[in-house]
């Protein structure tokens, strides 16, 4: 079963790198949706020795929420906001991909230095989870479109979830579901926020929000 876990984790890392190099927002949404499906598979693969109702419920709620509901919500926002691609990212796509590779190497190095309470299921869990968190953070600071920042936030959360599910196998289901609910609400609220930003300013470039203030010197 380690092979399934490994393959899923490699796919998670690759999709994150792909996201770093993608400009079309519909494609980015699809990539993040695929990550949601992968996380559902990962949940089952990690608990493959004892598939209980709890595991199935958790995996299917992850899969439905992150693989279908979030993408659907965000696609709707995208359609309403009428943007097709990220315009002029602060860091170019090729540099982002190279930075992502560097980040992956750093995560692998970090994972060897990190003292863990229990050995993880697969040697890839910690580095890939760290890398997804790093990639999410990198995307949040290097992209201008509000939608892309929401996607990056979801990737960051995916990394944290992968860390949890791969490392701490006996997390109470209530905690997992609570986190999932938080993320759901966050994406929902951010979707509404993007819609309002767009309606007010005709764009979703978050950089220009920095010029908003009452006081003028």
């Amino acid at each position: 079963m380690t092979m399934w876990v490994d393959t899923t984790l490699v796919f998670l890392a690759l999709t994150s790198i792909l996201l770093l190099g993608s400009s079309r927002l519909t494609r980015c949404i699809r990539i993040v949706a695929f990550q949601g499906v992968l996380l559902g598979v990962l949940t089952v693969a990690v608990h493959a020795h004892a598939v209980t109702l709890r595991v199935v419920a958790l995996a299917s709620s992850i899969l439905v929420l992150k693989g279908f509901v979030f993408p659907w919500l965000l696609s709707r926002v995208l359609r309403d906001a009428n943007v097709r691609r990220e315009i002029e990212p602060l860091v170019s796509y090729i540099i982002s991909m190279l930075a992502g590779t560097l980040g992956l190497a750093v995560s692998f190095w970090l994972s060897t230095r990190l003292p863990l309470p229990a050995p993880p299921l697969s040697l890839l869990v910690v580095p890939v989870a760290l890398f997804m968190t790093l990639a999410g953070l990198f995307l949040i600071v290097s992209r201008r479109t509000a939608l892309m920042q929401v996607l990056a936030y979801v990737v960051l959360e995916n990394g944290i979830y992968a860390f949890g599910v791969g490392l701490v196998q006996e997390t109470p289901m209530l905690v997992e579901l609570g986190v999932l609910l938080d993320v759901f609400v966050a994406v929902f609220v951010m979707g509404i926020a993007i819609f309002h930003i767009n309606r007010e300013f005709d764009h979703i470039d978050a950089d220009q929000l920095a010029t908003l203030h009452d006081w003028t010197p």
Partner: protein
């Protein structure tokens, strides 16, 4: 100095590209024709072309120097050298030593250098444009090729292509499937890019502005062009053999069985290339660096996976 004992089988990885490489071009052209609903040229057409070109005499412009004449000759010589180092499937190459994969990559670099220099020697602006594109993309494809080869070298614990590919069996795949699949994908992209195939370059295009590789050889004719055509067929075979050796992990130890598997793999690769060329268009020039950097990133991720 060959570490591996020389066996009669060592002649197979040398003879098969020398004899069969132009056939690959024919198979690709035929696949494209069949997919497009045409009958297509005979499978042996590249051989007829070579014979026809060899019977002609070359024409040289007065503005060119010896560099222009040396280009095709040095290029073919470099490829013949490279042929000696590339194994076919699990069958070891004619020559092998620790580090021959670096020699292989740099012999290909020498070929590229002389093609580019010969193109620049003509003083044609089109050829200079092609040369500039060629080196731009090569600079991105080379790291992908080297990182991929270093990845498999790390897996095999050897820097010799023959040793690496002799150990690339099903056991190696079960041990490190994700990393090897990434390297295979990177090598496929390098194979398409280095051989000027779609989506990087369109070998059948007749517009100088869009060409990369073809535009550099516009001024060559007769035997020189024959050398270049034969050389590009050899290069197609050699880089293809690196890919096929990886994805066809049949290492039975029986020479004829391994040869048959590898040759079938090469034939399959030619058909796959034809299908890729029929189903995708040439990409915009701006997107090609993304593809090549993507291949390099995949190879780098594979290397990180191997190193862990």
């Amino acid at each position: 100095m060959g570490h591996a004992p020389m066996t009669p089988a060592a002649i197979i990885p040398v003879l098969s590209p020398l004899l069969l490489a132009p056939l690959l071009l024919g198979v690709i052209a035929r696949t494209k024709a069949v997919v497009a609903g045409r009958r297509g040229a005979p499978l042996l057409q590249p051989y007829y072309d070579l014979v026809k070109l060899l019977q002609k005499s070359a024409v040289y412009s007065r503005t060119t120097t010896w560099v222009f004449r040396a280009g095709p000759v040095v290029g073919l010589a470099a490829l013949l050298c490279a042929t000696a180092y590339v194994p076919l499937g699990g069958i070891p190459a004619l020559l092998s030593f620790e580090g021959d994969l670096i020699v292989f990559v740099y012999v290909l670099g020498l070929l590229r250098f002389f093609t580019v220099v010969a193109a620049l020697d003509t003083g044609s602006s089109f050829e200079a444009m092609g040369a500039s594109r060629e080196v731009t993309f090569a600079a991105l494809a080379e790291p992908a090729l080297l990182l991929g080869l270093v990845g498999v070298a790390r897996n095999a614990g050897s820097f010799s292509l023959s040793t690496i590919y002799a150990g690339m069996d099903t056991a190696a795949w079960t041990a490190a499937a994700p990393a090897l699949a990434l390297i295979a994908a990177a090598l496929l992209v390098v194979f398409l890019a280095e051989n000027a195939r779609v989506p990087v370059d369109d070998p059948t295009t007749h517009l100088e502005l869009t060409m990369i590789h073809e535009v550099m050889v516009l001024d060559h004719g007769g035997p020189d062009l024959a050398f270049i055509l034969y050389g590009s067929a050899l290069k197609l075979w050699l880089l293809g053999a690196l890919f096929v050796g990886l994805v066809v992990p049949i290492r039975s130890g029986i020479v004829w069985l391994d040869t048959a598997a590898a040759l079938t793999g090469m034939l399959g690769l030619a058909i796959v290339t034809g299908i890729i060329e029929s189903s995708t268009a040439r990409w915009r020039l701006l997107r090609i660096p993304q593809l090549l950097v993507g291949a390099g990133v995949m190879a780098a991720v594979a290397l990180v996976l191997m190193l862990r």
